[in-house]
Symmetry: C2
Subunit: 231 residues, 2 copies
Protein backbone atom coordinates (compact mmCIF):
# COMPACT_ATOMS: atom_id res chain seq x y z
CA UNK A 1 0.00 0.00 0.00
CA UNK A 2 1.31 3.42 -0.90
CA UNK A 3 2.18 5.65 2.00
CA UNK A 4 -0.28 8.39 2.76
CA UNK A 5 0.97 11.85 1.99
CA UNK A 6 1.67 14.10 4.96
CA UNK A 7 -0.04 17.04 3.37
CA UNK A 8 -3.33 15.21 3.82
CA UNK A 9 -3.64 16.07 7.48
CA UNK A 10 -0.83 18.46 8.32
CA UNK A 11 -3.07 21.50 7.98
CA UNK A 12 -6.11 20.08 9.78
CA UNK A 13 -7.12 21.48 13.14
CA UNK A 14 -6.44 18.41 15.28
CA UNK A 15 -2.85 18.14 14.02
CA UNK A 16 -1.93 21.71 13.31
CA UNK A 17 0.81 22.03 15.86
CA UNK A 18 2.71 18.89 14.92
CA UNK A 19 5.96 18.52 13.00
CA UNK A 20 6.56 16.35 9.95
CA UNK A 21 7.85 13.48 11.98
CA UNK A 22 4.80 13.33 14.20
CA UNK A 23 2.43 13.60 11.26
CA UNK A 24 4.28 10.68 9.70
CA UNK A 25 3.86 8.57 12.83
CA UNK A 26 0.17 9.29 12.94
CA UNK A 27 -0.39 8.52 9.27
CA UNK A 28 1.53 5.27 9.46
CA UNK A 29 -0.92 3.98 12.01
CA UNK A 30 -4.00 5.08 10.12
CA UNK A 31 -6.21 2.87 8.02
CA UNK A 32 -7.69 4.79 5.08
CA UNK A 33 -11.03 3.86 3.62
CA UNK A 34 -13.30 5.08 0.87
CA UNK A 35 -17.06 5.13 1.47
CA UNK A 36 -19.73 5.22 -1.20
CA UNK A 37 -22.59 7.65 -0.87
CA UNK A 38 -25.12 6.18 1.53
CA UNK A 39 -22.78 3.59 3.02
CA UNK A 40 -22.32 3.10 6.73
CA UNK A 41 -19.08 4.10 8.43
CA UNK A 42 -20.12 2.77 11.79
CA UNK A 43 -23.40 1.72 13.30
CA UNK A 44 -25.26 2.73 16.44
CA UNK A 45 -24.77 0.17 19.19
CA UNK A 46 -21.73 -1.42 17.58
CA UNK A 47 -18.65 -1.95 19.70
CA UNK A 48 -16.72 1.30 19.45
CA UNK A 49 -13.23 0.12 18.64
CA UNK A 50 -12.03 2.90 16.33
CA UNK A 51 -12.15 6.62 15.87
CA UNK A 52 -12.01 8.37 12.51
CA UNK A 53 -10.91 11.47 10.71
CA UNK A 54 -13.05 12.59 7.80
CA UNK A 55 -10.66 13.59 5.03
CA UNK A 56 -13.13 14.25 2.27
CA UNK A 57 -16.87 14.17 1.76
CA UNK A 58 -19.68 14.67 4.26
CA UNK A 59 -21.02 12.43 6.97
CA UNK A 60 -24.48 12.29 8.49
CA UNK A 61 -24.83 11.24 12.11
CA UNK A 62 -28.10 9.40 12.50
CA UNK A 63 -30.09 7.78 15.27
CA UNK A 64 -32.99 5.43 14.84
CA UNK A 65 -35.80 5.49 17.37
CA UNK A 66 -37.39 2.31 18.72
CA UNK A 67 -40.31 3.00 16.40
CA UNK A 68 -38.10 3.17 13.35
CA UNK A 69 -37.98 6.89 12.72
CA UNK A 70 -34.63 8.36 11.84
CA UNK A 71 -33.22 11.52 13.35
CA UNK A 72 -30.25 13.25 11.79
CA UNK A 73 -28.21 14.71 14.63
CA UNK A 74 -25.61 16.55 12.58
CA UNK A 75 -23.56 16.80 9.44
CA UNK A 76 -19.81 16.63 9.61
CA UNK A 77 -17.59 18.50 7.15
CA UNK A 78 -14.13 17.33 6.03
CA UNK A 79 -11.26 17.76 8.44
CA UNK A 80 -13.11 16.73 11.57
CA UNK A 81 -12.77 13.78 13.89
CA UNK A 82 -15.77 11.45 14.11
CA UNK A 83 -16.72 8.49 16.21
CA UNK A 84 -14.85 9.76 19.23
CA UNK A 85 -17.43 8.30 21.60
CA UNK A 86 -15.05 5.55 22.69
CA UNK A 87 -12.68 8.26 23.84
CA UNK A 88 -15.43 9.40 26.18
CA UNK A 89 -15.63 6.05 27.83
CA UNK A 90 -18.57 4.75 25.86
CA UNK A 91 -18.31 1.10 24.92
CA UNK A 92 -20.53 1.43 21.85
CA UNK A 93 -21.22 4.11 19.23
CA UNK A 94 -24.23 6.16 20.31
CA UNK A 95 -25.32 6.86 16.73
CA UNK A 96 -24.65 5.68 13.20
CA UNK A 97 -22.48 7.53 10.72
CA UNK A 98 -23.55 7.46 7.09
CA UNK A 99 -21.62 8.80 4.20
CA UNK A 100 -23.70 11.64 2.74
CA UNK A 101 -21.51 11.92 -0.33
CA UNK A 102 -18.66 9.75 -1.47
CA UNK A 103 -16.05 10.21 1.22
CA UNK A 104 -12.69 9.23 2.59
CA UNK A 105 -11.77 8.49 6.19
CA UNK A 106 -8.74 7.54 8.20
CA UNK A 107 -9.30 5.22 11.13
CA UNK A 108 -7.25 4.45 14.24
CA UNK A 109 -7.82 1.85 16.94
CA UNK A 110 -9.33 3.43 20.01
CA UNK A 111 -6.36 2.61 22.23
CA UNK A 112 -4.40 5.22 20.31
CA UNK A 113 -6.71 7.98 21.54
CA UNK A 114 -4.93 8.18 24.88
CA UNK A 115 -1.60 8.08 23.11
CA UNK A 116 -2.55 10.95 20.81
CA UNK A 117 -3.81 12.98 23.76
CA UNK A 118 -0.58 12.56 25.62
CA UNK A 119 2.00 12.60 22.91
CA UNK A 120 0.83 15.23 20.46
CA UNK A 121 0.70 18.82 21.62
CA UNK A 122 -2.50 20.62 20.75
CA UNK A 123 -4.41 17.42 20.13
CA UNK A 124 -5.97 17.29 23.60
CA UNK A 125 -6.91 20.94 23.65
CA UNK A 126 -8.35 20.73 20.17
CA UNK A 127 -10.40 17.72 21.18
CA UNK A 128 -11.65 19.58 24.24
CA UNK A 129 -12.64 22.67 22.36
CA UNK A 130 -14.28 20.60 19.63
CA UNK A 131 -16.40 18.99 22.32
CA UNK A 132 -17.22 22.37 23.79
CA UNK A 133 -18.37 23.55 20.41
CA UNK A 134 -20.37 20.41 19.94
CA UNK A 135 -22.14 20.99 23.26
CA UNK A 136 -22.96 24.49 22.14
CA UNK A 137 -24.45 23.18 18.89
CA UNK A 138 -26.50 20.58 20.68
CA UNK A 139 -27.85 23.16 23.10
CA UNK A 140 -28.76 25.34 20.14
CA UNK A 141 -30.48 22.44 18.49
CA UNK A 142 -32.53 21.62 21.58
CA UNK A 143 -33.46 25.26 22.05
CA UNK A 144 -34.52 25.50 18.46
CA UNK A 145 -36.64 22.37 18.53
CA UNK A 146 -38.26 23.50 21.75
CA UNK A 147 -39.12 27.04 20.77
CA UNK A 148 -39.18 27.60 17.02
CA UNK A 149 -41.96 26.90 14.55
CA UNK A 150 -41.42 24.47 11.71
CA UNK A 151 -40.70 27.06 9.03
CA UNK A 152 -38.08 28.73 11.20
CA UNK A 153 -36.45 25.42 11.97
CA UNK A 154 -36.26 24.40 8.35
CA UNK A 155 -34.87 27.80 7.39
CA UNK A 156 -32.25 27.57 10.14
CA UNK A 157 -31.38 24.04 9.08
CA UNK A 158 -30.85 24.99 5.44
CA UNK A 159 -28.78 27.98 6.52
CA UNK A 160 -26.64 25.81 8.74
CA UNK A 161 -25.86 23.47 5.88
CA UNK A 162 -25.09 26.38 3.62
CA UNK A 163 -22.78 27.96 6.16
CA UNK A 164 -20.99 24.74 6.81
CA UNK A 165 -20.64 23.51 3.28
CA UNK A 166 -21.85 26.16 0.88
CA UNK A 167 -20.07 26.54 -2.41
CA UNK A 168 -20.62 29.44 -4.75
CA UNK A 169 -22.45 28.63 -7.94
CA UNK A 170 -23.93 31.04 -10.41
CA UNK A 171 -27.08 32.44 -8.90
CA UNK A 172 -26.39 31.61 -5.29
CA UNK A 173 -24.79 29.24 -2.83
CA UNK A 174 -25.26 25.51 -3.09
CA UNK A 175 -25.22 22.91 -0.35
CA UNK A 176 -22.20 20.79 -1.21
CA UNK A 177 -23.70 17.38 -0.58
CA UNK A 178 -26.91 15.65 -1.64
CA UNK A 179 -29.89 16.40 0.63
CA UNK A 180 -33.41 15.14 0.19
CA UNK A 181 -36.60 16.63 1.59
CA UNK A 182 -36.81 13.61 3.84
CA UNK A 183 -33.32 14.33 5.17
CA UNK A 184 -34.30 17.85 6.10
CA UNK A 185 -37.43 16.52 7.75
CA UNK A 186 -35.30 14.15 9.83
CA UNK A 187 -33.12 17.04 10.94
CA UNK A 188 -35.96 19.34 11.89
CA UNK A 189 -38.48 16.94 13.35
CA UNK A 190 -41.15 17.39 10.72
CA UNK A 191 -42.38 15.52 7.65
CA UNK A 192 -41.05 15.49 4.11
CA UNK A 193 -44.39 16.85 2.93
CA UNK A 194 -44.09 19.99 4.98
CA UNK A 195 -40.49 20.48 3.90
CA UNK A 196 -41.48 20.09 0.27
CA UNK A 197 -44.23 22.67 0.63
CA UNK A 198 -41.88 25.12 2.30
CA UNK A 199 -39.20 24.74 -0.35
CA UNK A 200 -41.79 25.15 -3.09
CA UNK A 201 -43.06 28.32 -1.47
CA UNK A 202 -39.53 29.66 -1.07
CA UNK A 203 -38.79 28.83 -4.66
CA UNK A 204 -41.86 30.81 -5.75
CA UNK A 205 -40.56 33.69 -3.64
CA UNK A 206 -37.12 33.48 -5.22
CA UNK A 207 -35.32 32.52 -2.02
CA UNK A 208 -34.05 29.12 -3.14
CA UNK A 209 -33.78 26.98 -6.24
CA UNK A 210 -33.75 23.25 -5.97
CA UNK A 211 -33.26 20.24 -8.09
CA UNK A 212 -33.53 16.68 -6.94
CA UNK A 213 -31.20 16.29 -3.94
CA UNK A 214 -29.65 19.70 -4.49
CA UNK A 215 -30.49 23.06 -3.00
CA UNK A 216 -29.19 26.44 -4.05
CA UNK A 217 -29.92 29.40 -1.80
CA UNK A 218 -30.31 32.55 -3.83
CA UNK A 219 -31.34 34.95 -1.07
CA UNK A 220 -29.62 33.91 2.15
CA UNK A 221 -30.54 37.12 3.96
CA UNK A 222 -34.23 36.41 3.49
CA UNK A 223 -33.74 32.92 4.88
CA UNK A 224 -32.05 34.44 7.90
CA UNK A 225 -35.11 36.56 8.50
CA UNK A 226 -37.39 33.55 8.11
CA UNK A 227 -35.28 31.57 10.56
CA UNK A 228 -36.17 34.08 13.22
CA UNK A 229 -32.59 34.81 14.18
CA UNK A 230 -32.99 37.90 16.30
CA UNK A 231 -29.66 39.57 16.25
Amino acid sequence: MAKLDESLIAALAPFQKLDRHQIREILDQAVPKRHDEGSEIFREGEEADRFFLLLDGFVRVVRTTPTGEQVILRHIPPGQLIGIAPALGRPTYPASALSASESLTLAWPVRLWAVFLERYPGFASHAMSAMGQRFQELHDHVTELATKAVEQRVAACVLRMVNQSGRKVEGGIEIAFPVTRANIAEMTGTTLHTVSRLLSAWERDGIVESRRKHIVVTAPHRLVILSGATG
Copy 2:
Protein backbone atom coordinates in the same frame (compact mmCIF):
# COMPACT_ATOMS: atom_id res chain seq x y z
CA MET B 1 -13.73 30.22 58.18
CA ALA B 2 -14.09 26.67 59.39
CA LYS B 3 -12.35 24.06 57.29
CA LEU B 4 -14.59 22.00 55.08
CA ASP B 5 -14.92 18.41 56.12
CA GLU B 6 -13.28 15.84 53.89
CA SER B 7 -16.25 13.57 54.00
CA LEU B 8 -18.14 16.13 51.96
CA ILE B 9 -16.57 15.10 48.71
CA ALA B 10 -14.49 12.01 49.37
CA ALA B 11 -17.23 9.69 48.17
CA LEU B 12 -18.27 11.67 45.11
CA ALA B 13 -17.55 10.31 41.65
CA PRO B 14 -15.03 12.92 40.51
CA PHE B 15 -12.83 12.38 43.56
CA GLN B 16 -13.43 8.76 44.38
CA LYS B 17 -9.93 7.53 43.78
CA LEU B 18 -8.16 10.17 45.83
CA ASP B 19 -6.56 9.85 49.26
CA ARG B 20 -7.22 12.03 52.31
CA HIS B 21 -4.33 14.29 51.57
CA GLN B 22 -5.47 15.05 48.04
CA ILE B 23 -9.04 15.63 49.13
CA ARG B 24 -7.70 18.09 51.69
CA GLU B 25 -5.76 19.99 49.01
CA ILE B 26 -8.81 20.23 46.82
CA LEU B 27 -11.06 21.40 49.62
CA ASP B 28 -8.62 24.02 50.78
CA GLN B 29 -8.81 25.70 47.40
CA ALA B 30 -12.59 25.57 47.19
CA VAL B 31 -14.93 28.43 47.87
CA PRO B 32 -18.22 27.20 49.33
CA LYS B 33 -21.43 29.08 48.78
CA ARG B 34 -25.07 28.69 49.69
CA HIS B 35 -27.73 29.54 47.10
CA ASP B 36 -31.34 30.35 47.82
CA GLU B 37 -34.04 28.71 45.78
CA GLY B 38 -34.34 30.59 42.50
CA SER B 39 -31.01 32.38 42.76
CA GLU B 40 -28.45 32.44 40.00
CA ILE B 41 -25.19 30.51 40.30
CA PHE B 42 -23.81 31.80 37.04
CA ARG B 43 -25.31 33.52 34.06
CA GLU B 44 -25.28 32.78 30.33
CA GLY B 45 -22.71 34.90 28.54
CA GLU B 46 -20.79 35.77 31.70
CA GLU B 47 -17.05 35.32 31.68
CA ALA B 48 -16.50 31.73 32.69
CA ASP B 49 -13.87 32.01 35.40
CA ARG B 50 -14.92 29.23 37.77
CA PHE B 51 -16.23 25.71 37.78
CA PHE B 52 -18.42 24.27 40.51
CA LEU B 53 -19.35 21.14 42.37
CA LEU B 54 -22.94 20.84 43.49
CA LEU B 55 -22.84 19.48 47.03
CA ASP B 56 -26.49 19.69 47.90
CA GLY B 57 -29.71 20.77 46.24
CA PHE B 58 -30.68 20.80 42.59
CA VAL B 59 -29.66 23.09 39.78
CA ARG B 60 -31.52 23.99 36.62
CA VAL B 61 -29.51 24.81 33.51
CA VAL B 62 -31.41 27.39 31.50
CA ARG B 63 -31.04 29.22 28.24
CA THR B 64 -32.97 32.26 27.14
CA THR B 65 -33.82 32.72 23.48
CA PRO B 66 -33.53 36.08 21.74
CA THR B 67 -37.31 36.34 21.99
CA GLY B 68 -37.29 35.85 25.73
CA GLU B 69 -38.49 32.27 26.02
CA GLN B 70 -36.70 30.09 28.48
CA VAL B 71 -35.53 26.57 27.77
CA ILE B 72 -34.47 24.27 30.58
CA LEU B 73 -31.66 22.12 29.26
CA ARG B 74 -31.22 19.86 32.26
CA HIS B 75 -31.42 19.33 35.97
CA ILE B 76 -28.31 18.52 37.92
CA PRO B 77 -28.41 16.36 41.04
CA PRO B 78 -25.99 16.70 43.98
CA GLY B 79 -22.47 15.36 43.54
CA GLN B 80 -21.96 16.57 40.00
CA LEU B 81 -19.65 19.13 38.50
CA ILE B 82 -21.29 22.13 36.85
CA GLY B 83 -20.13 25.05 34.82
CA ILE B 84 -17.31 23.09 33.26
CA ALA B 85 -17.65 24.98 29.97
CA PRO B 86 -14.47 26.95 30.63
CA ALA B 87 -12.64 23.65 30.78
CA LEU B 88 -13.80 23.04 27.22
CA GLY B 89 -12.16 26.19 26.00
CA ARG B 90 -15.27 28.36 26.09
CA PRO B 91 -14.65 31.87 27.31
CA THR B 92 -18.21 32.38 28.59
CA TYR B 93 -20.88 30.19 30.16
CA PRO B 94 -23.19 28.91 27.42
CA ALA B 95 -26.21 28.79 29.74
CA SER B 96 -27.35 30.03 33.14
CA ALA B 97 -27.49 27.89 36.25
CA LEU B 98 -30.33 28.52 38.67
CA SER B 99 -30.75 26.96 42.04
CA ALA B 100 -33.92 24.86 41.86
CA SER B 101 -33.96 24.28 45.58
CA GLU B 102 -31.79 25.73 48.30
CA SER B 103 -28.37 24.42 47.46
CA LEU B 104 -24.70 24.40 48.28
CA THR B 105 -21.77 24.60 45.87
CA LEU B 106 -18.01 24.56 45.96
CA ALA B 107 -16.23 26.70 43.38
CA TRP B 108 -12.70 26.68 42.02
CA PRO B 109 -10.98 29.10 39.68
CA VAL B 110 -10.87 27.73 36.17
CA ARG B 111 -7.07 27.57 36.05
CA LEU B 112 -7.26 24.70 38.52
CA TRP B 113 -9.12 22.55 36.00
CA ALA B 114 -5.92 21.63 34.20
CA VAL B 115 -4.22 21.01 37.54
CA PHE B 116 -7.00 18.68 38.68
CA LEU B 117 -6.87 16.80 35.38
CA GLU B 118 -3.19 16.26 35.67
CA ARG B 119 -2.64 15.76 39.35
CA TYR B 120 -5.62 13.72 40.50
CA PRO B 121 -5.99 10.20 39.20
CA GLY B 122 -9.46 9.36 37.98
CA PHE B 123 -10.50 12.97 37.67
CA ALA B 124 -9.77 13.22 33.95
CA SER B 125 -11.41 9.94 33.10
CA HIS B 126 -14.41 10.79 35.20
CA ALA B 127 -14.72 14.14 33.45
CA MET B 128 -14.49 12.43 30.08
CA SER B 129 -17.10 9.85 30.84
CA ALA B 130 -19.39 12.47 32.36
CA MET B 131 -19.18 14.36 29.09
CA GLY B 132 -19.86 11.21 27.15
CA GLN B 133 -22.94 10.62 29.21
CA ARG B 134 -23.99 14.20 28.77
CA PHE B 135 -23.69 13.84 24.99
CA GLN B 136 -25.85 10.77 25.17
CA GLU B 137 -28.49 12.65 27.13
CA LEU B 138 -28.48 15.56 24.72
CA HIS B 139 -28.86 13.21 21.78
CA ASP B 140 -31.77 11.58 23.54
CA HIS B 141 -33.31 14.95 24.18
CA VAL B 142 -33.02 16.02 20.55
CA THR B 143 -34.41 12.71 19.35
CA GLU B 144 -37.31 13.02 21.74
CA LEU B 145 -38.16 16.58 20.74
CA ALA B 146 -37.94 15.64 17.08
CA THR B 147 -40.07 12.52 17.15
CA LYS B 148 -42.33 12.29 20.18
CA ALA B 149 -45.72 13.86 20.74
CA VAL B 150 -46.24 16.29 23.60
CA GLU B 151 -47.81 13.83 26.01
CA GLN B 152 -44.95 11.38 25.51
CA ARG B 153 -42.38 14.10 26.03
CA VAL B 154 -43.98 15.31 29.23
CA ALA B 155 -44.28 11.76 30.53
CA ALA B 156 -40.62 11.11 29.71
CA CYS B 157 -39.63 14.36 31.36
CA VAL B 158 -41.46 13.58 34.60
CA LEU B 159 -39.99 10.10 34.60
CA ARG B 160 -36.51 11.47 34.11
CA MET B 161 -36.87 13.75 37.10
CA VAL B 162 -38.26 10.93 39.17
CA ASN B 163 -35.43 8.62 38.21
CA GLN B 164 -32.83 11.21 38.92
CA SER B 165 -34.19 12.58 42.13
CA GLY B 166 -37.13 10.50 43.23
CA ARG B 167 -37.67 9.94 46.94
CA LYS B 168 -40.12 7.45 48.33
CA VAL B 169 -43.12 8.94 50.03
CA GLU B 170 -46.30 7.19 51.08
CA GLY B 171 -48.31 6.53 47.97
CA GLY B 172 -45.54 6.88 45.42
CA ILE B 173 -42.30 8.58 44.46
CA GLU B 174 -41.88 12.30 44.72
CA ILE B 175 -39.68 14.59 42.68
CA ALA B 176 -37.23 15.94 45.22
CA PHE B 177 -37.21 19.56 44.14
CA PRO B 178 -39.90 22.14 43.39
CA VAL B 179 -41.19 22.00 39.80
CA THR B 180 -43.90 24.14 38.32
CA ARG B 181 -46.03 23.39 35.28
CA ALA B 182 -44.20 26.20 33.54
CA ASN B 183 -40.86 24.52 34.30
CA ILE B 184 -42.01 21.29 32.71
CA ALA B 185 -43.25 23.25 29.71
CA GLU B 186 -39.80 24.83 29.34
CA MET B 187 -38.20 21.41 29.41
CA THR B 188 -40.50 19.84 26.88
CA GLY B 189 -41.09 22.67 24.46
CA THR B 190 -44.78 23.11 25.14
CA THR B 191 -46.97 25.47 27.19
CA LEU B 192 -47.87 25.42 30.86
CA HIS B 193 -51.52 25.03 29.86
CA THR B 194 -50.91 21.79 28.07
CA VAL B 195 -48.79 20.48 30.92
CA SER B 196 -51.49 21.38 33.40
CA ARG B 197 -54.11 19.57 31.36
CA LEU B 198 -51.94 16.48 31.10
CA LEU B 199 -51.20 16.38 34.81
CA SER B 200 -54.88 16.85 35.60
CA ALA B 201 -55.79 14.00 33.30
CA TRP B 202 -53.12 11.78 34.81
CA GLU B 203 -54.32 12.67 38.28
CA ARG B 204 -57.84 11.61 37.31
CA ASP B 205 -56.39 8.34 36.05
CA GLY B 206 -54.47 7.80 39.27
CA ILE B 207 -51.04 8.02 37.71
CA VAL B 208 -49.79 11.06 39.62
CA GLU B 209 -50.75 13.29 42.51
CA SER B 210 -49.64 16.86 42.59
CA ARG B 211 -49.68 19.81 44.86
CA ARG B 212 -48.35 23.21 44.02
CA LYS B 213 -44.74 22.78 42.89
CA HIS B 214 -44.69 19.14 43.92
CA ILE B 215 -45.35 16.00 41.95
CA VAL B 216 -45.76 12.48 43.25
CA VAL B 217 -45.84 9.65 40.75
CA THR B 218 -48.08 6.87 41.95
CA ALA B 219 -48.00 4.59 38.92
CA PRO B 220 -44.58 4.90 37.28
CA HIS B 221 -45.12 1.93 35.00
CA ARG B 222 -48.12 3.59 33.42
CA LEU B 223 -46.08 6.71 32.81
CA VAL B 224 -43.44 4.59 31.13
CA ILE B 225 -46.09 3.28 28.78
CA LEU B 226 -47.34 6.80 28.07
CA SER B 227 -43.81 7.98 27.38
CA GLY B 228 -43.68 5.56 24.47
CA ALA B 229 -40.50 3.91 25.61
CA THR B 230 -40.40 0.87 23.39
CA GLY B 231 -38.13 -1.49 25.18
